[in-house]
């Protein structure tokens, strides 16, 4: 295995530095596409979930995609969604 040649601590950018933070969740965001505004309008609109996600794991695609490998389940997207299209569903319930 190659040696660490650094003589001072220099860190390289990479996803998952803190691990798969999706494991932190006790509830996951689930989007109801019948209520989600960009889904309903079939065009770029709202996207407040993308705006307010601290982790940047929401993609401005239609339908909206959330990267569940890293989503911490904070619930801000659900709280801020104007039509309440996002619910936080407990992980221990399928």
């Amino acid at each position: 295995m190659k040696r660490d040649e650094n003589i001072a601590a220099m860190c390289d950018p990479a996803p998952g530095e803190g691990g798969k933070t999706g494991d932190w969740r006790s509830a996951r965001p689930v989007i109801d596409e019948s209520k989600c505004i960009p889904c309903v309008k079939k065009k770029s609109a709202c996207f407040l979930c993308w705006l307010y996600c601290p982790e940047g794991v929401v993609k401005t695609t239609i339908p909206v995609e959330i990267d569940l490998t890293y989503c911490k389940g904070c619930g801000i997207c659900a709280e801020e969604c104007p039509p309440k299209a996002i619910s936080m569903v407990r992980e221990d319930k399928s």
Partner: protein, 301 residues
């Protein structure tokens, strides 16, 4: 299909890769996300031991895609001064130097270095993310903690003093640009960083940063709590440029319409205020009212 456009016309690139160690619903992460979008690649950040240091990750990885230099707790602004001096000496003064510290590293231990750097007119941006306590070490009290708040070092009596007005202290340094922001208003925050990047001299940006574990509320309410701070005037969105004061965003609307909410709407939502006395609540309201009327007078001039 094409990825739909970014409605807010801001830099779509993300500079914080997912899977970082910040708390669920961290106000700092949300704020930093937009600050970096505005600052872009040609930036060097310096940061002390703090929540941000943990967000920046542990060796040998980091989630952040801009260069960053860790420093000791007291020295953030001095670390930035050294970066500016070194880059000038090497003819790389095109790179924006940004110091980012919490309220501990700004109001308390970091105040001397900050005052020195500002007094010298150092050409850098100093950012204070104010989560109103020493949150990284376990939510202890700082001089930025509001009156009446429970912290782990004011666990019974609550904080006795009003929040230190560091913004006034920074104004006393006659700096080039000063702005206050909140992650609950990310576009306002983004715009101020974009503006600051283009200004020369000392620029100070304050971010009122909600903290779920420290303020004791559910992580999903971070944006809501931050909004309530602005709605009640506990956090005010404004900028000062060449001595001229200007409300921005939601605070501007409140100033025009006069519909500022009483502070109780804010404090009742957070567990840290559950031992706040009626007297302290009155003092807090009075403090907010006084500052608000000062700002109103300055805005009219």
């Amino acid at each position: 299909m094409n990825t739909p456009e970014n409605l807010f016309k801001i830099n779509a690139k993300e500079y914080i890769l997912p899977g970082n160690r910040a708390c669920q619903g961290c106000g700092l992460t949300l704020a930093y996300r937009y600050a970096l979008k505005a600052l872009r690649e040609n930036t060097i950040v310096t940061l002390p031991a703090s929540c941000l240091c943990v967000l920046h990750g542990l060796y040998p990885l980091t989630p952040v895609t801009v260069p960053a230099l860790n420093c000791t707790f007291a020295s953030t602004a001095a670390s930035a001064s050294g970066l500016v001096a070194g880059l000038n000496a090497l003819n790389r003064s095109d790179i924006t130097v940004v110091a980012i510290a919490g309220d501990g590293g700004t109001f308390d231990m970091g105040i001397q270095a900050l005052s020195g750097a500002a007094e010298r007119g150092t050409d850098f941006i100093y950012v204070c993310y104010d989560n109103e306590g020493y949150m990284n070490t376990g939510t202890q009290r700082s001089s930025a903690t509001p009156i009446g708040a429970l912290t782990t070092t004011t666990p019974v009596m609550t904080k006795q003093q009003q929040k230190k007005d560091l913004i006034k202290i920074m104004e006393a340094h006659d700096i080039a640009y000063l702005a206050t922001t909140s992650p609950s208003y990310p576009i306002d925050l983004y715009d101020k960083f974009v503006k600051a990047k283009k200004i020369k001299g000392t620029r100070y940006i304050h971010i009122h940063t909600p903290c779920p574990p420290g303020w004791v509320y559910s992580p999903r309410d971070t944006v809501k709590i931050g909004r309530l701070a602005v709605e009640t005037g506990l956090a005010v969105l404004f900028e000062v440029e060449n001595g001229r004061f200007r409300f921005t965003g939601r605070s501007k609307t409140i100033a025009e319409k006069g519909n500022r909410l009483p502070v109780i709407n804010y404090v009742e939502k957070q567990g840290r205020f559950k031992k706040m006395s009626i007297e302290q609540l009155k003092q807090m309201q009075s403090w907010v009212d006084t500052k608000w009327s000062e700002y109103m007078q300055r805005a009219e001039r």
